[in-house]
Amino acid sequence: MNRLRYMSVRVLQGLLVLMCIATVNFMLIRAAPGDPVAVIAGEAGASDPQFVAQLREQFGLDKPVTTQLANYLGHITQLDLGFSYRQQRPVLELIAERLPATLLLTGSAFVMSLIFGVALGATASRHVGKWVDSAITFVALVFYATPLYWLAMMAVLVFSVQLSWLPGFGYFTVGSDATGFARAWDIAQHLVLPSLTLALFYMAVYARMTRASMLEVAQMDFVKTARAKGVRMGRIQRQHILRNALLPIVTLAGIQAGGLIGGAVLTETVFAWPGIGRLMFDALLQRDYNLLLGCFLVAAAVAVLFNLITDFVYTLVDPRIELG
């Protein structure tokens, strides 16, 4: 099957999956107790039936649920994600505003965890049984088992509150009008703690997986053959073992990448990072249906996209895998 045809079939399948996800999400959210009107009336600390009815009508919540669902699905096919009840702005605009911060955070955590994780795993497997191996395995186990939330809080307390080395909150220094390089440097400093905390867990996972996978491949016959032929050890490690050991890591990286958008709720909350994870969480608490559905849909679209990319990367890592 040729590549173009394969890709277009997969894209169509992906779109179908997204519509199903949108429908299921819609139903699930409606099953939760409370609605945006109850939240808004509650926050105002007072209301009367007139106020409640006014809001329901304004949000279209007075119509039957099936009509609301049909309207919603109709709109998203035209890439209209609707209007946020609470923030009084288009959902797409709100998401677009928050997306860069999240992509910067999760993207840098992704790259960091992948590079350091694979490097540590490879180092451990090369020194298997020695102290280096034990040290790496131990550290990976600790980061794997420590709750992200606790780690984030400790990072803030130590590096921001006690030592004042790094900013503990936000995306940039509020009130500074820095531009260009100064602004990039400012953002980079703010990025260190959150992206590091977020990276540690996956770094541990990659390290453990790379180590195990490389040790397994090292037992295989073609490696023994290579060694018998007198190929240098470094070359065997890189060309023969690592390359073959990479497949499970690509799978895992694909999953992590798929969660790049929604996977940072806790980190964004602790570090007051103005990303989409927090937007999603607030929307959930406030039953801001359209905004929440919009966030879910974008996150789902990214997951579908990365599934496609992962399949594609498989064929690059291991040419024996065919598209089909």
């Binding site: 928050r98 503990g168 509020v174 608490l285």
Partner: protein, 520 residues
């Protein structure tokens, strides 16, 4: 700055004033920045449309009402300079300050007041709409005079003019538009001491000093930043690391307050909540057994160790509630039935009420750790008296819906009572406010025609003596019948850095006080 620079700067300063710069201009000079915590992120800043707590905190600097109220709840002029009440109590006349300008430079006048009250707020402001029930008409007599005519005397009328209850809305921007979708909602325009500058969603809101402000010498600070930090522990860390200077009550957990207040250069105050008078209680669903029996409700009161809750859940920042009136509310009376903890009395009352050990459900208020601890203590106390209690958890949206739909046995709640019993107290006990689907009214379903009549008489009586009599009697009846189990008057603590001078200067506290604060 080293010493030599300091000297040369001060010389330059002296030289300037000698050179004839008007002293008023120097006095007006604003400097510095105050960083404030706001929690949660406001949903909007148009105070006429959005009335929740965070909006009031930020928008109280952008918008203004006709009056402001000090810590003793006495009215002072803000946009009004003088006001009179006719002898029959039916006509109120307000003289407005002249020369007041909106942030866009247009003049503020009596027409704006009439538009705000009659056209705008009546449509958008549920709480004010209820309080404006007695208002017959409002009209502009001339550019600086407004007259309110009432259908019948209404004692609390003079307490309605604070910025949160009756903010002035610019007529020239909102007239003949759809209020809810007017683009100006995104860039609010008021007459206040600070102007809207920027709102980076999820990060901060910035206000800057209004150079056209009508009160000379205010504000004294150049910038106000309101920081949005979603996690309570992170908010504590932000104050600790010096990133934020002012933390309003409730933004950090109560058990963190004492520790943060001890940091060098930090202080805590409980002033500035007098106008709101936060009061908390356990709503008892009077519609169903066993809560339909007053004896059972009294037993609940006797069972609770509210003193211990003050110490453990509120860390001292609260006071046991005597009854339905917060002590700051006018006409609060001490001549009421009191309920000190007495397990034996509670058990005897349960027997009398014929309680058979059925399980009752408790719905905690999901506002954080302190409220959670409070719920646990209540459950423990009631179990000690022999009442079977099960706690059911939900998030804020679920809590709002379940209380509004009367879907609970017992629920923890707290409400603002405002200075006058007719504004914030009556709504939770009178029968005509019972309305399913709408929160914060008489959700317990208590019906007593005598109580209705007394609250009505208290609101409409012409003299304070008559009002006091009606309210004293209503407090006696309510504390006898226990429609709800009163818990505490909460004294919300405000954390601030001592470099900020005069951080709280009115009964609404941080919601307007930073206009008069400076950095020393």
């Amino acid at each position: 700055m080293n010493r030599r620079e300091l000297i040369s700067y001060s010389l330059a300063g002296a030289g300037l004033s000698i050179a004839g710069v008007p002293m008023a201009a120097l006095a007006q000079q604003t400097k510095g920045t105050i960083n404030v915590m706001v929690q949660p992120e406001p949903s909007g800043l148009m105070l006429g449309i959005v009335q929740n707590g965070p909006t009031q905190l930020v928008s109280g600097y952008i918008y203004e009402g006709l009056l402001r109220y000090d810590e003793k709840l006495e009215p002072h002029g803000l946009l009004a300079t003088a006001w009179t009440r006719s002898d029959d109590g039916l006509t109120y006349t307000f003289k407005l300050k002249s020369g007041v300008k909106w942030h866009d430079g247009k003049p503020f006048s009596a027409d704006d007041v009439v538009f705000s009250v009659d056209k705008f707020l009546r449509k958008t402001h549920a709480r004010l709409r209820a309080s404006l029930e007695p208002l017959e008409s409002v009209r502009a007599i001339d550019a600086n005079t407004v007259e309110f005519k009432l259908k019948y005397p209404f004692g609390p009328f003079i307490s309605l003019f604070d910025t949160g209850s009756m903010p002035m809305i610019p007529k020239h921007i909102y007239e003949n538009t759809d209020f809810a979708t007017n683009p100006a909602n995104a860039k609010p325009i008021g007459t206040g001491p600070f102007k809207y500058k920027e709102w980076v969603r999820g990060s901060y809101i910035q206000l800057v000093a209004n150079e056209l402000y009508h009160t000379k010498g205010e504000p004294m600070v150049e910038n106000l930043y309101f920081h949005i930090i979603p996690d309570a522990a992170s908010r504590a860390a932000a104050f600790e690391s010096g990133k934020v200077d002012v933390v309003p009550g409730g933004a950090v957990e109560f058990f963190d307050v004492a520790r943060l207040a001890k940091l060098p250069g930090a202080a805590v105050t409980t002033k500035g909540w007098e106008f709101y008078s936060p009061h908390s209680w356990l709503v008892l669903n009077n519609r169903k057994a066993p809560f339909d029996n007053p004896k059972f409700r009294q037993a609940v009161m006797y069972a609770m160790d509210r003193e211990a809750m003050v110490k453990v859940a509120w860390q001292g920042f609260a006071k046991t509630a005597a009854g339905p009136f917060n002590q700051h509310v006018k006409f609060a009376s001490d001549d009421v039935t009191k309920y000190p903890r007495d397990l034996n009395k509670a058990k005897a009352l349960l027997k009398e009420a014929g309680y058979k050990g059925e399980t009752v459900k408790l719905l905690p208020l999901p506002y954080g750790e302190s409220w959670q601890r409070l719920a646990e203590m209540i459950r423990q106390n009631l179990i000690q008296a022999g009442i079977k209690v099960e706690t059911t958890g939900t998030d804020v949206a679920g809590w709002n819906q379940r209380t509004a739909e009367w879907d609970f046995d017992m629920a923890i709640i707290y409400v603002y009572q405002y200075p006058d019993p007719a504004l914030g107290v009556a709504r939770t006990y009178t029968s005509h406010t019972i309305a399913k689907g709408s929160p914060f009214n008489n959700i317990e379903g208590y019906v007593n025609p005598k109580v209705d009549a007394l609250f009505d008489a208290g609101a409409k009586a012409l003299t304070d003596a008559d009002r006091a009599k009606a309210y004293a009697e209503v407090q006696k009846i309510l504390t006898e019948e226990v429609p709800v189990a009163w818990l505490h008057e909460i004294n919300f603590p405000t954390l601030y850095r001592t470099k900020i001078k005069n951080p709280i200067s009115s009964g609404v506290g941080l919601n307007d006080s930073l206009s008069r604060a400076s950095i020393g």
